[in-house]
Subunit: 206 residues, 2 copies
C-alpha cells in the first residue's frame, strides 16, 4: 500500500530544521484533518510569501514587493546603523521598537572551519555602502555591531570593528551591551534584555 | 516595519501540532533561504496531496484518487480485520508487512469528558459493514481490536468487544498482544514490538 503524495510531503517536511520523519508525519496528518480550503490557503501563502518577500540589495534585509521598508523609510535615522548576522535579527530588533536607524545584514558569521571567510559575508557591501554615502557627505556616525553574543559573533564583531576603524576612523563602532546572555542567540532573547542591551551599547575597543 | 505574507505564514505554521511561534519563524526563514523552485514544489505538493488523498467511505482509511488501495485489493484476506483508532495506525501496521487483512478506522477513542461517545466514532459504520457482508455470506471471522494500549484505547476495545460479541457471537474478537508498551502509542512503537503484538494477539474476554 502506497500513497505517493503523502510520502512525498512527509519527505519534504522532514527537511525542515528541527522536524524529523515522525514529526513530519504528524504535520501531514494534521493537514489531512483540516478543511481543504484551509490547506489550499496554506499552499497559497507559501507561494505568495516566497514571491513577495526578497532581499534588499542595499542593506541585505527583507524586501517586500522589491522594496525595503527600512531603507526607503525617510523618517528613519540615517546616522546610526545596526550590523546584524541574519535577516531574522532585524525583525528581533524591530520588535523592541527602540531602534529607528538603518541595518546591514552580514548573512552569517566568520566560521573558517565551515569555509566562511570575510568574502562569504556582506562585508565588502558594507564598506562600499558607507564609502558611497561618505562621498555624498552623509555617512553614518555610529555602527552598532549587533552580532550574536557567541564565540563566532564576537570574533566577527572584533574583526569588523578593526576593519571599520581603520577605514572610517571618524565613525564610532559600538557593541550591544552585555545584558544579552553569552552563548545565546538574539532571536531568543527576551524583550527587556534586548532593550537594555540596545541602551547600554559600548565602544568595541575601549 | 511589517511583512504581511511573512507574518501570515508564521501564524499558519504555528497552528501545526508541536510548532510554536518561534519554531514557525524558523520554518519560514528556512523556506526563505531555499530556491524559489523548491518552495513552489512544496506548495504544489501540499495542494496535490490534499486533493488526491481522501477517506475511504467503507473502512475509513486513506484513499488515493477516491480509491482505497486496501478495500479494492482482491489479494488481501477478507476474513480478518484490524480495528484501529486513526488512519495513521493503518500505515503503522502496514509497515510491519505482517498483516494482509482488512481495516476499519474508528476515527478516535471513547472520551466522555471530551464529548466523544460511541456516536462520534465510526462504530455504527463497522456494525453495518459487517451486517451487510453477513447477508452476503462473507462476514469476517476475526476482528483484531488494535486500539492504542492506553486507558482510552483499552476502554474503547472493551466496549467494542462487548457490542461485537453480542451482535456477532460467531466472530472472534482479539486484541493485540501486550508486547506493546502500556501508555504508549502505536505510531511510535518499534517494528519488532509491533510484529510481536500482531502475532500474539489474544481474545478480548478470555
Amino acid at each position: 500500500m502506497n500513497f505517493p503524495p503523502l510520502e512525498e510531503l512527509i519527505q519534504k517536511f522532514s527537511r525542515f530544521p528541527g522536524i524529523g520523519q515522525k514529526s513530519a508525519g504528524r504535520l501531514v496528518f494534521y493537514l489531512l484533518s483540516q478543511p481543504e480550503e484551509d490547506v489550499r490557503e496554506l499552499a497559497h501563502s507559501i507561494l505568495t510569501f516566497r514571491e513577495e518577500i526578497g532581499s534588499c540589495p542595499d542593506c541585505g534585509g527583507l524586501s517586500y514587493h522589491n522594496t525595503c521598508p527600512i531603507c526607503t523609510d525617510g523618517t528613519r535615522d540615517k546616522s546610526v546603523w545596526c550590523i546584524v548576522e541574519q535577516q531574522k535579527d532585524v525583525l528581533s530588533i524591530e520588535r523592541t521598537g527602540q531602534f529607528k536607524g538603518q541595518y546591514h545584514v552580514l548573512g552569517g558569521v566568520l566560521a573558517p572551519l565551515d569555509g566562511v571567510g570575510p568574502d562569504q559575508l556582506r562585508i565588502n557591501e558594507l564598506l562600499n555602502r558607507i564609502q558611497s554615502l561618505k562621498l555624498d557627505g552623509k555617512p553614518p556616525a555610529e555602527l552598532i555591531l549587533a552580532t550574536n553574543p557567541t564565540l563566532e559573533g564576537d570574533a566577527t564583531a572584533g574583526y569588523l570593528g578593526k576593519i571599520l576603524e581603520s577605514n572610517f576612523p571618524d565613525i564610532q563602532t559600538t557593541r550591544l551591551a552585555r545584558g544579552i546572555q553569552s552563548g545565546g542567540e538574539l532571536e531568543f532573547t527576551d524583550m527587556s534584555t534586548l532593550i537594555r542591551s540596545l541602551r547600554d551599547r559600548r565602544p568595541v575597543h575601549e
